[in-house]
């Protein structure tokens, strides 16, 4: 009986130590890429943050750890901490992280000036290469920055450059929508309509184009055309450009369309 109890004690001791070793291994000793993945997938949890802290302590030049740790802070509106981490990632590997930081400054902070500065610096580091920060053409993003700054002439130049980079049939249709919006702001309503139409040549479901055209036709005094387009905008609103995280600069809403429709009637 005594031997049996001893065996049970030894087995439990081994099992409990094994449990502890497994936890310590996955948190502090496994290959850094494996731990990065675990921490990335539990984004925002204290465990994730602790694992990134350990990774940064063990590999002070691991820029991805700083970058990924920043994401949860920025998503929660804790920008002082988030950008402190992101700045460190950029400092360690500018080519890899400048695009994301510029993208974040544009979409999360609407800090157009500093976003442009990041995109321009990235561009200068990668000559003869069209960068795609966070999957979007750098000139499209720079166009959005100028649109945000209300520098519509410069925005037109960048959106056109984006269309040239990507080719007419492959570019983001919102390049055309933005071109239409810029021409509208500059008072060139006929040109605005033709730019909105370029988006509709790619697909019929662009409510932003119909809405923009309705406004431009109203300015030109063509009420019937304006009514026709506002109806199309209403019917295609399901396809509008939106994002779960932030409102886009050219985002439209059904309520605005309905308000405009009432003005026309």
């Amino acid at each position: 009986m005594k031997i049996f109890i001893k065996i049970v004690k030894v087995v439990f001791t081994i099992l409990l130590f094994a449990f502890s070793i497994v936890i310590i291994y996955f948190i502090a000793l496994a290959p850094k890429e494996k731990r990065f993945k675990i921490a990335e997938h539990s984004q925002g949890a204290y465990l994730s943050q602790t694992m990134f802290d350990i990774l940064k302590f063990q590999y002070p030049n691991y820029s991805d750890a700083y970058f990924e740790q920043s994401v949860a802070f920025n998503k929660r509106g804790e920008y002082a901490k988030g950008f402190e981490l992101l700045d460190k990632a950029v400092q360690l590997d500018p080519k890899l992280h400048l695009g994301y930081r510029g993208w974040m400054k544009l979409r999360k902070l609407r800090d157009f000036e500093n976003s442009l500065s990041d995109f321009n610096r990235l561009d200068s580091l990668t000559p003869n290469f069209v960068d795609t920060p966070w999957g979007e053409d750098i000139d499209f993003l720079r166009g959005e920055c100028y649109f945000g700054k209300k520098d519509y002439q410069k925005a037109i130049e960048l959106f056109n450059r984006n269309i040239k980079n990507q080719k007419e049939d492959w570019t983001d249709i919102h390049s055309f929508v933005y071109l239409g919006l810029c021409e509208y702001e500059l008072g060139y309503y006929k040109k605005a309509i033709s730019e909105f139409q370029r988006a509709l040549n790619q697909t019929k479901n662009v409510p932003e184009s119909y809405f923009g055209m309705a406004k431009a036709y109203l300015k030109l005094g063509q009420i019937e055309k304006a009514k026709e387009n506002i109806l199309k905008a209403e019917n295609s609103i399901y396809y509008k450009r939106n994002d779960v995280y932030n409102e886009f600069l050219n985002e439209i809403y059904l309520s605005e369309i309905l308000e405009f429709k009432q003005i026309l009637n």
């Binding site: 936890i23 949890a45 943050q49 809403y253 309520s255």
Partner: protein, 157 residues
Amino acid sequence: MLLSFLLAITLAIWVYYQITYNIGDIAFDKNIDNSEFIVCNEDRITQYYSVGANYQGGEKTIKKELNELINSLNFNESGLITYRFIVNCKSNAGRFRVKMVNSDLKENSFKSNNIKQIQESIKNLNGWKAGEWKNESLDSYYVLNFKIQNGKIKDIF
């Protein structure tokens, strides 16, 4: 065996704590939070982007509805005032926390009277829409930024 047991139990409790709690969680604080604002499930408050919590008509509409406030408030510095709060399953906003940064994204503070006025205005907005998952309304955290430039609120997003 006692040593291995203590080590394992300590690690298990620590891991449980580390997995359960998230950065940015807002626990009820009786000193600053309104006790009439109730969440449906204290253990399951998600992020707005996971369940689609939003303001009807978007931030554009908030800007319109707060137009009077935007024009009346003056600030001495530029930067961002960021409110993080809960939109509960009944589509009400509460349990506000605020973070402030200057134009260089370093921690900062703005006039406390202005901060309170904006907070009250957000609370009084009536277009909040609770997030949903599988036809169930859920509580979620929302983030709303006020961009301050040249002494005025320049943008809300």
